[in-house]
Amino acid sequence: MSETGRPTITTTGTVVIDVDACKGCDLCIAACPRDVLVMTTHEVNTRGYRYPQLLPGCIACKACAQICPDFVFQVYRYDEPVEQTVTADGVVSEVIR
């Protein structure tokens, strides 16, 4: 919990998603142990496939990169974890400690 009482999420990593490489197979969604990948519902890439997007909470476990048949992901681990608060209208901000 943050000082304002809002839920916080600890994020220790992030990914770079090569959107146009994706073929919309959904394997990464199931692979992610933190459930922080979601497929777009309407947007498609230049090939016409839906693609994944990242939510806060990534732990840089590389599961997505290892399972992806199209090498869509690059995975980074932050030097310092990031605490983030999610506001009511979905805005993510950092908690300053």
């Binding site: 990593g13 992030t14 990914v15 770079v16 998603i17 090569d18 959107v19 490489a21 073929k23 919309g24 197979c25 959904d26 394997l27 969604i29 199931a30 692979a31 979601v38 777009t40 519902t41 309407h42 947007e43 496939y49 997007q53 990242l54 939510l55 806060p56 990534c58 840089a60 476990c61 590389k62 599961a63 997505c64 990169a65 290892q66 399972i67 992806c68 048949p69 199209d70 090498f71 869509v72 992901f73 690059q74 995975v75 980074y76 681990r77 932050y78 030097d79 310092e80 990031v82 999610v86 979905g90 805005v91 993510v92």
Partner: protein
């Protein structure tokens, strides 16, 4: 822009805050990430973990990969290891010729189940029986993928394929050849294991099997073999997202995951499958 009402993180480029790259788009030994294999295909996942294993064991400068013919042939001109392209089913004999001529090299084959269990059954069995110091990798998806998804000798009972649309039946189509188990029975085989790439956990376990197989080749103990169950949603007539579960429920009960034979458990004619 997102079509969710969710806090989407910007993933269009590397992070601005201090971070280390822990996994790149493609492994160092795969040249181009893009390919024309189907969405959800397990073969690129298997190729990735094999090439990562070669790199992590620092074998790239000693490796010669001998490719069979199948969808995975797309990688024969896309790797940063030396490759000899063979014919359908005929990689083990070519690998034998390479390894006997270059005993210090690490020779591996990449074959599908149609290639190895149909066309090339004789080749792999004799190569294994002779204990050739090569490593054969089998990408098993239970179909001839490249020609459109027909039954192979590895297709499991009940599996629907282009020519077993009602499901493979023992009466009409005979029984599957459980190739990993068959190979393990041969005395020349030092290591035989079966992995899968349907979950990232299985990917990690399979990579350990691949590394073990290559190390055993390097130690000159004998023939090593890793079968890797891969997803083929196209060949299986299912959605891509269902393929990992289909593999677990339909393929794996016949082609069982685990180390079938290793130097530690090896006794001639006495197979002790160890299921993880």
């Amino acid at each position: 822009m997102s079509d969710h009402h969710l806090p989407i993180v910007d993933t269009s480029g590397p992070p601005r805050r201090a971070a280390k790259l822990v996994d790149d788009f493609t492994p160092a030994l795969i040249n181009q990430g893009a390919h024309h294999l189907c969405p959800g295909c397990g073969e690129p996942v298997a190729m990735r973990l094999i090439m990562e294993a070669v790199e992590e064991l620092q074998l790239a400068q000693r490796t010669v990969a001998v490719f069979g013919i199948g969808c995975y042939t797309a990688y024969s001109n896309n790797l940063d290891v030396e490759v000899v392209q063979a014919l359908h089913g005929r990689s083990p004999s070519v690998a034998t010729g390479v390894k006997r001529s270059l005993p210090g090299s690490v020779v591996l084959t990449v074959q599908g189940d149609g290639d190895m269990v149909n066309e090339g059954l004789q080749e792999v069995l004799h190569t294994a029986a002779r204990g050739e110091k090569v490593t054969c990798f089998l990408l098993n998806n239970g179909v001839f993928g490249e020609t459109g998804g027909h039954m192979t000798a590895a297709t499991v009972l009940g599996q629907r394929t282009k020519n077993t649309l009602e499901g493979r039946s023992a009466e009409q189509h005979g029984y599957p050849i459980v190739i990993g188990d068959l190979i393990a029975q041969l005395a020349g085989v030092a290591y035989a294991a079966r992995g899968a790439v349907n979950t990232h956990t299985n990917v990690a376990r399979t990579k350990r099997m691949v590394k073990e197989a290559l190390k055993i080749q390097d130690q000159g103990i004998g023939f090593s073999f890793v079968e890797i169950l891969t997803m083929c949603p196209t060949g299986w007539f299912i959605e891509t997202g269902e393929a990992p579960q289909y593999l677990d429920e339909h393929i794996e009960p016949t082609h069982r995951f685990g180390v079938i034979k290793s130097p530690r458990s090896r006794r001639a004619g006495d197979i002790q499958p160890v299921h993880h």
